[in-house]
């Protein structure tokens, strides 16, 4: 009985970043023009939003800095336009560019926060439903079905108007963004839950999970340390696409007047306010925030689409 030892050739262990730049994902990114374009656009938009206090000619929240004789100035390249109001001003003399930069901050914050909240809820619900199956699964998933069968806008309008009615006035302004985040998350956790549940049901049966069960690993650790990391790829794709969707939902709500108030305007609020002046000739008030919203959402969605294809082994 001779035994031939088999050893792998010694390799320098790779760091996480080293692995990333070696990976198929990076290769696919480098070769996808839409993905690169979207990433650049998104980076610019996000950086500009982060640097809003530095870049903006004006603090749009500071009512004292608004001068009424600057109201409804057109963009600088048009007759009557003047610096520093590159994209013009609104009826209160607020600089459009500054409003957009700060508004993008709010939109991105609400989008991100609702993705984080719905991810946390959805991943936990999906893991639990997929791992335990049976009635736990039935209850969680039927609740999700019911939520998805109601139009999201109605849910959000209901939640935010009820919350606005219930919140004491001094909390209303601070609370509204949190209410928006929760309203959007209430709807979008279901999608993460479905993705994670389906993947969990596949992973749960795999032998590595059973091997871990055999050494007495408790269910919670099995789910978090073994199963969850193996479900993250589709979750990541869903999260990217949902980020775009969340920004849009927030914009819609704000446009309908149940979202961010005009003194804390998101892109949607700016569009709503500007919309009123569209026919009086001050088209710039509504156009530029709309363009910004488009760039933001399209870039996020393009990245999400690319990611979905790049991570789908069947399309490679």
């Amino acid at each position: 009985m001779t035994d031939i030892p088999v050893t792998a050739p010694a390799k320098a262990p790779k760091t996480r970043t080293g692995q990333f730049f070696d990976s198929d994902l990076w290769w696919s990114f480098k070769n996808s023009k839409p993905a690169i374009g979207a990433a650049i656009a998104l980076t610019v938009v996000i950086l500009a939003a982060i640097l809003a206090p530095v870049l903006s000619p004006q603090n749009p929240y500071d009512l004292a800095s608004l001068e009424l004789w600057n109201a409804e100035l057109p963009p600088v390249w048009m007759e009557g336009g003047q610096m520093p109001f590159i994209l013009g001003t609104d009826v209160q003399g607020r600089d459009i560019l500054s409003g957009i930069l700060y508004g993008t901050r709010i939109s991105i914050f609400i989008g991100l926060a609702s993705v984080v909240v719905s991810l946390a809820v959805g991943v936990m619900a999906g893991l639990t439903a997929g791992y335990y199956g049976g009635w736990v699964d039935n209850v969680l998933m039927r609740v999700g079905d019911v939520l998805l069968s109601i139009p999201i806008i109605l849910v959000a309008i209901l939640v935010s108007s009820v919350a606005q009615a219930l919140l004491p006035p001094e909390l209303r302004e601070a609370g509204i963004s949190i209410v928006l985040v929760l309203a959007i998350a209430l709807y979008s956790w279901v999608q993460y839950a479905r993705v994670v549940r389906a993947q969990t049901m596949v992973e749960r049966r795999k032998e590595y999970v059973q091997a871990s069960r055999l050494v007495g690993t408790p269910a919670r650790r099995l789910m978090l340390k073994h199963i969850l990391p193996n479900t993250l790829t589709p979750v990541f794709v869903a999260a990217t696409l949902n980020f775009g969707l969340a920004i849009l939902i927030e914009a819609t709500l704000s446009f309908l007047g149940v979202g961010m108030p005009p003194n804390q305007p998101s892109l949607g609020t700016l569009i709503r306010v500007g919309n009123q002046y569209l026919f009086s000739g001050s088209w710039w008030i509504v156009l530029f925030p709309s363009i910004q919203l488009c760039i933001l959402v399209v870039a996020v969605n393009m990245l999400g689409d690319w990611l979905r294809d790049a991570l789908n082994p069947k399309l490679r």
Partner: protein, 332 residues
């Protein structure tokens, strides 16, 4: 192998799986509940330090027996008992799985995979000792200490199976359940893994419950062999007697399918025939639709287990003394 006290006693174990359609479909389509009897009234004992093997075609319930023994499934009926371990504590059971690709978490480093049992069961006091133990285990199974830092996809099938073995050994088990540990490997690699497993059995005094569909693999490992067909054990006995004088027509059919270098062109007609669906097993002896010796009684009554020399056989023809008259291959 000296006759020792059994480390494992399985008595009349059965396992049914509920494979019914979802409740709503069942109600709408008026379908009854549907069960697969994957394991039916199986009894055996495994002496300490021996290797007990189960052979049979795909779907006959081998893996289900393995999972019943390790506790991954609960029995529907019957009883699985372990004797006290060598130190008086409960016997530790571990399992080596069939598929080296799905049995290792692709996102964990090999070192963490092997260390998991040690950490979960708190077998070492410190992280340094754990790491030391992992290196020791890697060298036990013929891998390098450096391999701990790599991910499973960087290894070949045979190497992954060594990693699985190292992980199983990490919890210091006395009984290792091996569910077709070599069936996914090349023949040359199979021999290496089997050699390693035999060496480990001798060095560590392990007991094996070894499962395979390949009799030639089992032959070199086993002290006792049980042949399963459609959830039941149809013949069980010492390895040598089973190979030299198989009693049950199905055992003889299986033996006929072992490639024989002395007579490579032997008639292969015996391999024909598919096992019936376990959803709808034949009445009487489940083997009768394929059996050359079947008579009318076989399609009606389930044969009892019968002692023939050192073996136990479940067959009417053996009981009636018809089995030895005709060679099975002629009768087909």
């Amino acid at each position: 192998m000296t006759a020792q006290s059994p480390i494992l006693t399985v008595s009349n174990a059965s396992k049914e799986f509920d494979v019914s359609a979802p409740w709503l479909n069942r109600v709408l389509e008026r379908k009854p509940k549907l069960f697969v009897k994957a394991v039916d009234d199986v009894s055996f004992t495994v002496p300490r330090g021996s290797c007990f093997s189960i052979v049979g075609e795909s779907g006959c319930g081998k893996s289900t027996v393995a999972r019943l023994v390790t506790g991954l499934y609960a029995t529907t009926a019957g009883d699985i008992r372990f004797s006290a371990g060598s130190g008086g504590e409960p016997v530790r059971v571990q399992m080596i799985f069939q598929d080296p690709h799905s049995s290792l978490n692709p996102r964990w480093r090999v070192g963490d995979i092997i260390a998991e049992p040690i950490r979960e069961m708190k077998l070492r006091a410190s992280e340094a000792e754990t790491r030391e133990r992992v290196e020791e285990l890697l060298s036990t199974v013929g891998l390098a200490a450096d391999d701990a830092r790599n991910y499973p996809h960087e290894f070949s099938g045979g190497q992954r199976q060594r990693i699985s073995i190292a992980r199983a050994l990490a919890s210091e088990p006395e009984l290792l359940v091996c569910d077709e540990p070599t069936s996914a490997l090349d023949v040359s690699v199979q021999a290496q893994i089997l050699n390693l497993m035999r060496r480990l059995q001798q060095e560590l005094g392990l007991t094996y419950l070894f499962i395979s569909h390949d009799l030639s693999v089992v032959r070199h490992m086993s002290d006792t062999i049980a042949v399963m067909y459609l959830g039941r054990i149809v013949e069980m006995g010492p390895a040598e007697s089973l190979f030299n004088a198989p009693q049950h027509p199905y055992s003889r059919l299986l033996l006929g399918t072992i490639p024989d270098i002395h007579a490579p062109h032997r008639d292969r007609a015996l391999q024909s025939g598919e096992p019936p669906s376990p959803l709808d097993p034949p009445l009487g002896c489940a083997f009768h639709p394929r059996c050359a010796l079947a008579n009318e009684r076989c399609g009606r009554d389930l044969p009892e287990l019968l002692s023939v020399g050192a073996a136990t056989v479940r067959c009417h023809a053996v009981e009636e003394g018809r089995a030895q008259e005709t060679s099975v291959s002629e009768a087909v």
